[in-house]
């Protein structure tokens, strides 16, 4: 439980603690703390440069920017798939060790087909709890709960492969929720959805309890779901603020080749 000096902590909530705060690790409400993060592939230009980011528990952070600005790479670093070339990442004050499984973070891939491979929806959802070594009853309970949360009960026995795009995505989400993650990363969740499935996803996310990070080109979607946003361009974070303040800033958006969404235009 090392506590990185550089990760800024807002109001550590150790009021109930009677010991001098200097010698205890303060329990914090920081979900993600990223300091000076850099990433590049050998002999290639930087994909991420000097990223500083702090996300508190319960935050809903939208990430906008063009393809290739580093959004997906940031997600892969956060869940330990890639190894940073420099900098540190902490989730709940514990450093991310590349390759180590952290059930508290779930990543939804852009194409749900990439994460569905079992022969039935319930087998697929049971995949993570089983790998976590839980008992059979616990696994079953989690599967049931994830099915209920996502409204997929009726599809439990179907092969995921036969479902529609929107259903596949909800099943993929259910498969992640069965890990009981505290942080959920959504990579372009609306790219292949029709308007009805998109609206269902918005309502689902508005009620979800996890800390959310959403990378999307669908700016209206981020406006409806997120309470904070960052704008990325060429490997860096170039603006931070509320979604409306960033996307409503016409100069800023045009500078980075984006467009003010219609709902914010006058």
């Amino acid at each position: 439980m090392n506590y990185s000096e550089t990760s800024p902590v807002k109001a550590p909530m150790n009021a109930q603690n009677n010991l001098p705060s200097a010698i205890v690790t303060p329990p914090s409400n920081t979900a993600i703390a990223v300091t000076n993060l850099c990433f590049s592939y050998p002999d290639k230009p930087e994909v991420l440069q000097e990223i500083h980011l702090q996300v508190d528990t319960g935050d809903r952070l939208g990430i906008i920017g063009h393809n290739g600005c580093g959004k997906t790479t940031l997600f892969l670093l956060l869940c330990g798939v890639l190894t940073p070339t420099a900098g540190t990442i902490h989730l709940f004050d514990e450093p991310v060790i590349p390759g180590k499984f952290r059930p508290e973070v779930g990543l939804l891939f852009q194409d749900p087909d990439d994460q569905l491979f079992a022969a039935s929806v319930q087998d697929d959802i049971a995949f993570a709890p089983q790998n976590m070594g839980l008992l059979t009853e616990e696994v079953e309970q989690r599967v049931e709960q994830a099915l209920t949360l996502t409204g997929m009960e009726s599809l439990a026995d179907r092969p995921p492969h036969h479902l529609s795009g929107g259903e596949k995505q909800m099943v993929a989400i259910a498969g992640l929720l069965a890990m009981r993650p505290q942080i959920m990363l959504y990579d372009e969740p609306t790219a292949n959805l029709d308007l009805r499935a998109r609206r269902r996803l918005i309502q689902f996310l508005q009620q979800s309890q996890e800390t959310l990070l959403v990378a999307s080109h669908d700016l209206e979607f981020i406006l409806e779901v997120c309470d904070r946003a960052i704008l990325m361009s060429e490997a860096r974070i170039v603006a931070t603020g509320t979604p409306a303040s960033i996307m409503g800033n016409a100069d800023l958006m045009h500078t980075y080749g984006l467009e003010v969404p219609y709902s914010l235009r006058r």
């Binding site: 022969a119 092969p159 492969h161 036969h162």
Partner: protein, 217 residues
């Protein structure tokens, strides 16, 4: 595993391998060109070839070691007449990209993998003649298991026959025969695992995408 590299076999065997594979391929292509639309299955065969190539690169941990499946029994079942063309193309890429096998032994390797693949295919289909419920779960499991085990077992047998007989050595015939039998039998555990894996795969395909296993009449 079960790819003969360059340099081991004498030229006559290499040429013989090309002759067998050439003949089988010629026959396959002739059958294909008789279909109503011969181009229809080209993309299918090509992408499945790529998929089998990629799938056989997955290393599966079976402690203490890890194994790669060759999946030639399944490949024969899925590709039918395209098996030999697919073997040629797939093994060509394995040779030039990751150094499994070689150009001089391409014909031998294709025959070594392709003939057992076709036998496995016909064997897997024979359940249609033998049973009233050829697609019951147990039928697919048992015949899938045997198709996978036969595919690997025959290929391994041919491999050792070719290697042991053609390598210049001072052994007598009896020793060589014993060596071949011993080495092939040493593959029994691998045949069982390959069979189990093939059966699992076929059950999965049967459930999710039956077209893959039964589209030819």
């Amino acid at each position: 595993m079960v790819h003969i590299p360059d340099g081991i076999l004498p030229a006559s065997v290499c040429v013989g391998g090309y002759a067998v594979t050439g003949l089988a391929t010629w026959y396959s292509l002739r059958q294909i060109s008789r279909q109503k639309d011969p181009t229809q299955d080209i993309p299918k065969a090509a992408l499945m070839t790529a998929a089998f190539f990629v799938a056989s690169s997955v290393s599966i941990p079976i402690p203490p070691a890890s194994v790669h499946f060759i999946l030639n029994g399944l490949m024969g079942t899925v590709l039918g007449y395209y098996t030999f063309p697919a073997m040629l193309v797939g093994l060509f890429f394995q040779a030039v990209m990751i150094g499994h096998g070689g150009l001089t032994t391409l014909g031998v390797n294709a025959a070594m993998m392709g003939i057992p693949a076709l036998l496995a295919y016909h064997f897997f289909r024979s359940r249609y003649r033998l049973f009233n419920h050829p697609n019951a779960r147990w039928a697919i499991s048992v015949f899938g298991f045997l198709a996978g085990a036969i595919g690997l077992g025959l290929a391994a047998g041919i491999f050792y026959v070719l290697v042991v007989i053609t390598i210049p050595s001072g052994f007598d015939l009896a020793t060589e025969r014993a060596a071949i039998t011993g080495l092939t039998l040493a593959h029994l555990p691998l045949m069982i695992i390959e069979g189990v894996f093939t059966a699992m795969l076929m059950l999965f395909l049967w459930r999710v995408k039956p077209d893959l296993l039964e589209r030819r009449g």
